[in-house]
């Protein structure tokens, strides 16, 4: 059976690879990754980059908002619901869902009070490992 190794990447991804000796290609990849990381951190961590990035994000968000407002006007003209209308409807559905959950919870509580706790599945009697280990020599 092959032993597994977890090679983690920065964005949180990881891959499992077979255990083997480091080869030159592997070494080059690792070195390249480290250099790019150092360079990237220096650039992304700077205040000027932060400003530029946040301006870009704000602009993008404003454009998106402007576009959806325009779209909403067009949809209104054609007598069709806009995304905001759908969201409002969905919010109402969510409120109904919440009410139903609270009714369901109350019903469950009432039923539980009548029938007692429903305990199905395996017995909840497992003992700590230390106890089991201590008992083993006697057995």
């Amino acid at each position: 059976m092959r032993k597994a190794r977890c090679t983690e990447t920065a964005n949180g991804s990881a891959a499992v690879a077979g255990k083997k000796k480091e080869d030159p290609v592997q070494k080059a990849i690792v070195q390249l990754e480290e250099r790019v990381n150092v360079l990237g951190r220096a650039v992304f961590g700077s205040e000027s980059f932060g400003k530029v990035m946040n301006t870009a994000v704000s602009t993008q968000a404003a454009l998106k908002k402007g576009f959806s407002d325009r779209m909403a006007k067009n949809l209104h003209f054609y007598n069709m619901p806009s995304q905001d209308d759908i969201v409002t409807l969905a919010e109402q559905c969510a409120r109904i869902e919440e009410r139903m959950i609270s009714v369901e919870t109350m019903l469950r509580q009432l039923l539980a009070e009548k029938a007692g706790p429903a305990r199905t599945g395996p017995a909840r009697t497992r003992r700590p490992k230390s106890e089991t280990r201590a008992k083993k020599p006697d057995a």
Partner: protein, 359 residues
């Protein structure tokens, strides 16, 4: 003579290996692009509760006898929960089930547009409380072990602190940030001086997953190209390709964040560092970590580039518990909970710790 033969044999072997690998690389390469991602999160479970963005899973027990105290796992709000159930043999959930625990998990679905108003209180109190009550009712027990990974650990800690340990017997956290000034790249990119969180949330509502992913990728920009190079290098290895696809799928499968929750996280946790200073108030209750008095276990990763060890280290000193355990393991943010590092290092220690506190 025999040396020369063995040398030529080894050259022959090498050529054969090269040809084999080239053929396999082509087969796997084509399959990489034309087949869907391999399935993940396959451990048998039931969805026992659903409410908008929240789903509560109950995994089918795998032993005849389980520990009395059930485990309720709170997963990070930025990622899919299958990181903890990636594949058989590399699944924390499966390991816990096989070790005799009764496991429940809070899974997050993308918040819908109308859920943009979900707040930190909803995530850290309402949802956890709701799931905890269901678990207690289902099992007939009084307490659970609350377990949280990354931001899930933050939510579990806030719940335990602000609800004064109600219904919690043990608290288990994996790589949980507390000092948000030490979050490295995240601290710098969300700096109050130039990051207008109000404008952003007011304009777009829920924060798109691309924005969150971008933030993660900026912490180690070299990793994406390096992981692609690794994939190309190991394309001949079917096992590597399959595992790579599972982890890569998870890493890119980010969730949008509810707008209000994002705003509060940035303002209260990042800017005011209120969890660290003890000034955080959620739903009118103080979420001072000193309020946590139950046994606590915290595992940190030595080479964590997302939650830097400096950010997660203060958790144990700040809690009020007497029974507290901290372990620092080699590896990164993900390999701490899944992968060989987790299987060999974290899980056995965790099982020993939990076993003594779950009967």
């Amino acid at each position: 003579m025999s040396e020369a033969r063995s040398q030529s044999k080894s050259t022959g072997d090498r050529i054969r290996q090269l040809v084999d690998r080239t053929i396999q690389r082509n087969i796997n390469g084509v399959s990489y692009f034309v087949t869907p991602d391999p399935p993940v999160g396959l451990t048998a479970k039931d969805i026992i509760h659903k409410r908008g963005t929240l789903q509560l899973f109950h995994y089918h027990p795998m032993t005849d006898e389980v520990y009395r105290t059930p485990i309720l796992i709170v997963t990070p709000t930025t990622n899919r929960s299958y990181a903890l159930d990636m594949m058989p043999g590399v699944s924390l959930v499966e390991f816990l089930l096989k070790s005799g625990y009764d496991v429940y998990l809070m899974d997050w679905q993308p918040p819908r547009p109308e859920e943009k108003s979900l707040s930190l209180q909803d995530y850290s109190q309402t949802f956890i409380q709701e799931c905890l009550d269901i678990v207690l009712r289902e099992t007939g027990e009084d307490e659970v072990t609350l377990m949280g990974y990354c931001m899930g650990g933050v939510l579990a800690s806030i719940y335990t602190a602000s609800m004064k340990n109600r219904g919690v017997r043990n608290l288990v956290c994996f790589t949980t940030p507390v000092d948000f000034r030490e979050m490295g790249m995240f601290t710098r990119t969300t700096d109050k001086k130039h990051f207008d969180v109000d404008r952003m949330v007011d304009l777009i509502g829920n924060v798109p997953p691309g924005f969150v992913l971008q933030g993660f990728m900026m912490t180690e920009p070299g990793s994406k190209p390096a992981s692609r190079a690794q994939l190309w290098k190991n394309m001949w290895d079917t096992g590597f390709v399959e595992n790579f696809r599972k982890y890569d799928r998870w890493a890119n499968d980010m969730l949008p964040l509810a707008g209000e929750y994002f705003r509060e996280t940035i303002k209260q946790l990042m800017w005011d560092n209120a969890l660290y200073t003890g000034k955080l108030k959620v739903g009118g209750n103080s979420a001072n970590l000193k309020n946590i008095t139950v046994p606590i276990f915290h595992a940190q990763a030595q080479h964590d580039s997302l939650v830097l060890p400096e950010a997660s280290k203060p958790l144990i000193p700040l809690v009020g518990s007497e029974d507290k355990t901290e372990i620092v393991l080699k590896g990164g943010h993900v390999s701490l909970v899944c992968g060989a590092n987790a299987v060999g290092r974290l899980w056995p220690v965790l099982d020993d710790w939990l076993s003594e506190r779950s009967a």
